[in-house]
Subunit: 470 residues, 2 copies
């Protein structure tokens, strides 16, 4: 793959400049000149842009070459264009339009250390392997795949995911019931809309849980009822009392507490859903990362007709890919697919085909093997540093995932700790923002965005922020 | 990029076939044979897949080469594999797994000739140039682009589009007001939700117009009022009477009638929007294709505070990319961006960066120049054939776009003509499905999905279908 390229002069001759000349109106040269000047002034033609050769533009406009040569010369004299012997005439770099000169809003300074949870280390993204999959996808895709397609997604990916999820996560499904999404945010919206279309109004949700996820459910018409989480995961007993039409849970690795749904609770959850005629939305967001315990299969495998299984590449590959999936119970399939078709007519196809290739070649397994050891080392460094700096705050949720939970001393002011840490250059995040009902203060330490060598210094800073008020 | 490739045996030797042999169980050959047979039957090994050489698979499984040679031979005899001297053994193309053999719902036999409008010829998709852009995007993207990002889209693409749309379409905008979408379907939903959030309830829409587009507006809470279209485009007078909060229009090339909004109407439209405090949704869906007339700039350039400009790559590159954009008036920007963030947290980033590269290198201009001449030739062939076969039905909307309109004789039964054409192997589509109010019978002939050599025969068949009932 060449790292540099030399765009040929040819390229600019085909640029479409949206110029037009009218016979019998103003002189042709004046028309061309004025339109080009306006286009540069307004920023329509960007600084540095190479213009077509006078010969080529003249041919396109149906005027003599001299008309364009004169117009270019006049605008160069005025400073709008830059004419260089032997090179294309360009829009002058000095001609920066007003609108582009302003700085983009909202771009504040990033922290020195960032413990933000909820994402992988995107610098580990396997660019070369992904490019290989994109290349094969583009080479092998039948033309029809590039047209409007099945709103559920490319059949190649639905088949590959069925195999991968069956093998790696114990998901029970066939390609007909797989729907490719643009990630969990869309998946939750589709689930909510399918429920509402069936007349559902209330959904239970683990508390604490993902706040944007909760907002997504509410925005799509559901009332969200908090369901407590303890050391064994979701309180299924509470579901019996609340009697919602569905429940949202992350059984393999609860977000943000990091607990696993206990075996007896798994059975109880399915029993409840079956008796109540309710649905379970299983968020399998980062179950691939586990360090000290055997894998926990998806709950969906126990009751595929009651559980909608959802996952994505956001925690394993990169959130920027916006690529996820759902395995949908038969009863919800039509409504989910209709909502997906109405949303966007389907997810972009080339990256779907690339992911199919990536899965089928075992590249995801390879990537997970590699990154698991990176994250395990960071997790170990973090646990060690916390034991040293904050021995009275033993962390929880350390066995899996990309973050852990540090309980703060009773009475600590979570918001004040976050603010002090921030002033010391540490991006720190609390449990409160994910709670529906209030609860004890705690920190969430994500290790997707902090490297192993930085962890010691970062924990020293955060410990200082914790101890300051104590 | 080569369109064909000779996969080296090397590549296939690394395939993980998920085969395993157990010593002391069934004979080794039977184990290998049975697992391969099951894998082909279930579709896990896809038709056409090149298998590892017997030597390489034997080494991987730790068995003698003869075991694999025998298993391959047996499965070739059964028709599951295809053994060719001097080439890798492949999964037989005839061995279509059950799950994939079942026709996907709604996919009946494709017609011999297909005049379906609303799409480009995806076989013209510039795969090599697009792969080049994907490669540079993956090579050059800062890591942060792969993380969750600005819901409006990658800044690189928003800047490149501002330049391109300014230059080629006369759109007035700055990157801060560009929102990348997953295509026009999503764009209409975002527009509708932003309007509803401001308290709007009614939108005018050109009649006839895109039916899925209308459904999208209705699904997102708007009442759609039909606004007639004549030879000068949208009837702005009617807007004055109806007084909706917004109007949907495709001024550069009305869909489906193919007319251009006349200069006086453009001014009147902007006057109305300004006076009424209303918004215009400008669908610039295929304005890049024009054959006999100068380009018509976007209406948005006249009133960027009243017009939301929307376009996509669906008619120029490929609908399967699901990639579009909007340039949003200030007053609607917050609501549109919030709706986009809630929908999907943003559009997939790698293809955004690829499109930015593709635009900046002039590849879209080059592709348009190439495909314009292909479509012009098809258009000419279609007009010629129609003049010969249906001289009493002079087509309209021929100057631009990817389809034209053939009025049927008064009293003709449009649905019957479509059905007869279909029975003659011609996929034919009528104007009725796009009308809100009833109107005279007419055909829409798209030439994105039919090649030039096929046009003569296809028109002869469709003319027979038209004349049959006359």
């Amino acid at each position: 793959m060449p790292r540099t390229s030399s765009p040929s002069v040819d390229r600019t001759s085909s640029l479409d400049l949206l110029l037009r000349v009218e016979r019998g109106a103003a002189p042709l040269r004046a028309q061309v000149e004025e339109q080009l000047r306006d286009a540069v002034r307004s920023g329509r033609l960007a600084p540095g842009l190479a213009l077509p050769s006078s010969r080529s533009l003249a041919r396109e406009l149906g005027v003599s070459r001299g008309v364009v040569v004169d117009a270019y010369a006049q605008l160069a004299a005025e400073g709008y264009l830059l004419a260089t012997q032997g090179a294309p005439t360009r829009v002058s770099e000095a001609a920066i339009p007003a609108a582009l000169a302003a700085a983009p809003p909202g771009a504040d300074q990033p922290p020195r250390f960032d413990f933000r949870p909820g994402g992988p280390d995107v610098s580990l993204f396997p660019r070369a392997a992904w490019l290989g999959s994109l290349r094969r996808a583009l080479r092998d895709a039948p033309d029809s795949r590039l047209d409007y397609g099945d709103p559920r997604g490319a059949p190649e990916l639905r088949a590959a995911l069925t195999r991968y999820l069956g093998r790696a996560r114990g998901v029970h499904g066939d390609p007909e019931r797989v729907v490719i999404t643009s990630g969990m945010a869309q998946g939750m919206a589709l689930f909510a809309r399918a429920l509402v279309a069936r007349g559902a109004r209330r959904i239970g949700m683990e508390d604490p849980s993902s706040t944007p996820g909760r907002e997504q459910l509410i925005a799509n018409g559901l009332e969200v009822l908090p369901v407590p989480v303890d050391a064994d995961g979701l309180s299924v007993d509470r579901l019996e009392q609340l009697a919602p039409s569905a429940v949202f849970t992350a059984p393999a690795h609860q977000f943000p507490l990091g607990v696993v749904l206990a075996p007896a609770r798994r059975t109880a959850l399915i029993d409840w859903a079956t008796r109540a005629g309710a649905f379970v939305l299983e968020d399998d967001y980062d179950a691939e990362y586990r360090y000290d315990r055997p894998p926990v299969g998806a709950v969906q495998g126990l009751a595929p007709d009651r559980v909608l299984y959802a996952g994505s590449v956001s925690k394993t590959l990169a959130p920027g890919l916006r690529l996820g999936w759902m395995v949908v119970p038969d009863r919800l399939a039509d409504a989910v697919v209709a909502a997906k078709a109405s949303d966007d007519l389907g997810t972009p196809v080339v990256e779907q085909l690339a992911l199919a290739d990536f899965l089928e070649r075992g590249e995801l397994d390879r990537h997970l093997r590699r990154t698991r050891s990176v994250y395990r080392a960071r997790r170990d460094a973090l646990v060690t540093a916390l034991a040293r700096e904050l021995p009275d705050c033993p962390p929880g949720g350390v066995a899996a995932g990309l973050h852990l939970v540090v309980p703060l001393p009773a009475g600590a002011d979570e918001a004040a700790v976050l603010a002090r840490a921030r002033s010391r250059g540490v991006g720190l995040y609390g449990l409160s923002e994910h709670r529906i009902e209030p609860g004890p203060p705690a920190l969430l330490l994500g290790y997707g965005r902090i490297t192993e060598p930085a962890i010691g210094a970062a924990v020293a800073e955060l410990a200082a922020a914790v101890r300051y008020g104590a």
